[in-house]
Amino acid sequence: MVKKQMKIDSGILQFAPKGAFYEDASEQFKAIFNMWTDLFQYDRTLFCLMSLLNGTGFSKGSISHMLLSNPQTGKELIPKTLAFDYETKIIKYNLRKEKTPRALKNLLMLAGKEGTHSNLIDTVNGKKRVNNSRTKKIILDYIFNRGHKDLDNLAVNYKGKLKKLIRHALGNVDLHKILNGDTKLFNKWIGRYYANAMPVLLYLFDKELEKNVVYAHYKKISQVQLLKKAAIDGDVNNFRKLMKGIPILTAMGLRNCYKVPIEKSELYTDTTMSSRQKLTSESAAKRTGVEVEVDYKNQNIYDLWKVFFHKITIKDLEKIDEIFEALEFQGKKINKIDLGDVAVILDCSSSMKGSDKRPLHPFLTAISILSSIDNIKEIIPVGGKGIVRTLEDGSNYLYPEGSTKLWKGLIKAAATGIKNIIVISDGYENNIKGMFEHVYKILKRKGHEFELIHINPVFSADAKTGTTRKLTEDTIALPVTDYKYLETELLFNRLIENRDVVEQLLLNKYRKLIGG
């Protein structure tokens, strides 16, 4: 019997369940899930170490889920240089590296409350919810092993999610006992991380504080408690006073729940928002008549392009120049990959618009990738339509539209004589099929010397191999769904053939990031 060949590429680190133009997210997830399972079964250590590389929060959460739902038996081949609990260390490290909302989502995957596609995980591992001692410790460690100010903020910002996680980790019986004063159990599970965490627990589960317990360290929690009281009492003036400095979602939640007659615009003005929240809620705030001060210069390049195209589409050109300056600033700041002189063929056809869940994602990723590559001598857009930025300067920006004549782009790129040609495309020619490869072969036969690199910003479950569609037989399509992962992809692609080298590289990375 012929052994099934393992299909793997760095797509396993880059998956986000958002769907694409032609495929829904569950189809894509299935393809990625098979890769995770294959690599897990092939080499658990490699599978775990690999999650130290840059990747999406969702992929890392799913990898952790798989590791935790299959407890270590002690029979695995763990390199001598690694401690037995290296998996736990990596999972914790990855959680701390994520932004809080993503980290909590990943933990909620373990509680079976997150990841709409986890039904597939079910069929393989038999469990959707994972609740063993290791999981319990990881969840409680993440929540309580932090300073009081941090815990205060976390509790106020993510009350609902924390409740679900703690209930999952402790179970209803132990939770009930702890909330009712079982200090031994409290110390065993929570006090070991933070001895003075009881008030937080009581706040999260809406329990009255005992007389001798105070929110001394927890200023935000006590402010929210008072804000809630004002909301229940319908005390609008006090609500207005107390909401200052409270996270917008918390204040908005109380306002909506208790129907406090306060304008949304006041919330945008007086509550606090993260820098990214400001960027994403800028338009919504503007509709209420409030100008949110956004620090464009400190946003990442993908988010900036996203806002740029959104504003152009809705013809809100007021801040366009500022955004454009920020794009230039970030473009210079970004770590660039030097491949020598490069010509880029950029697919601007309709399918680069992406899915409804993640509009324009492939196109935005593609143009963000352009900022990550050094020495681009020529950009050759294929397809697309021009959209005019302003009436005054008439600048034209391409927007995905129509079909793809990628072969023509390849001829133009070859004519430049540049040795590295990068084509960024979803791999659908939408023309005479095979013409790209036909032209590629003609050019090679004619002695044109160039290396073709195909970067595909769209996962494809129907790809014949790996997670992306190829354009030519001998050019591997590199799946890069986030510009930040371009370097990871290039490394992964070159090294995956050599397991020992990859493993050693990752072990070194582990030691550097986590220690012994």
Partner: protein
Amino acid sequence: MASIFDLVSFKDIQAEEIQNDDEMIVIPLVGPALGDIEKPSNLVFEKTTGYGKMQFKNIGDKLAIVPSNLMIRGTGAQDHAMSGSGIVVEKTTHVFDNACCIEQSQSGYLKSQNNIEDVLPISLRRSLLSLSLRNHKSYDKLWPDISDWLKGLDIKKTSSAHLNYFYNDKNIKEELEQFAAAFEPVQDQIGAIIFFGKDPVGIEIMSSPEHWNTYWKHLIRGCYGAELLRLKMLNVLQPSTLKLPRVTKDNTLEDITQKIESFSKKLIQEMVDIVKNIQVTNDIRISIDNRKKVEIRLITTKTGGGDIILQESKPVYMSLVL
């Protein structure tokens, strides 16, 4: 008799670059919007009011067109398909009571939500070109043809006349999505001529690029892709590949570009000529609304036919299987 092109006299429509995948070739047709037809998002399938009765609502203020043989598949309800095309006057609800049930032993009525829309495959559309069958108000009228259509296919079930046995098959579903992906709409596209190899199998023209963008997947995936896949599964379609232009060593990059461009143009011309030579054998007016100045005509050719809709005597929609 006249050729199809003479008869319909669509003006300003041009053929664009060929797209192909496997044995399917599509020539996109581009041109200006035709007539004054409601945008597709304002035409809503509401429900089935009984077996064989499909209800649509037009919430816009212009006439809306229900594409020919539109098929609605839901869950826990009897799937349905239109027997032809249809017109729904502005701000009204219309029940088409000559529709077909396409899921023999399933009970329940379709609702407006959670449905998949497609267009019936070519062979079943051909069956409905018979005026008597089309007008016959009997929900089970297409079941014998559906059973025949499924016969011999390597899918889990073929026992009853359930079209979704085919469409819900995991492998088929994936292949059909791939078909659709290879035929992305081009700018200003309002229609397409579809071939299997060099045999024309359909001409579709919608009222505007917006209509095409809404319905192209229904046609490419549900109608033409499905039929092609079935024929391949039955091994009755000869494999054919396009021979790409040859290039010599002395050809410059400009020469190569020109050769490919002229190869493409020649191919388009050859294929359009094939369709131009198709003669209309019959042309019947099957419904007219004098107040709205709109009519539906059923035309037939030697091997097929379909609907043309005219508004103020000008064609605004055509859907023919050949």
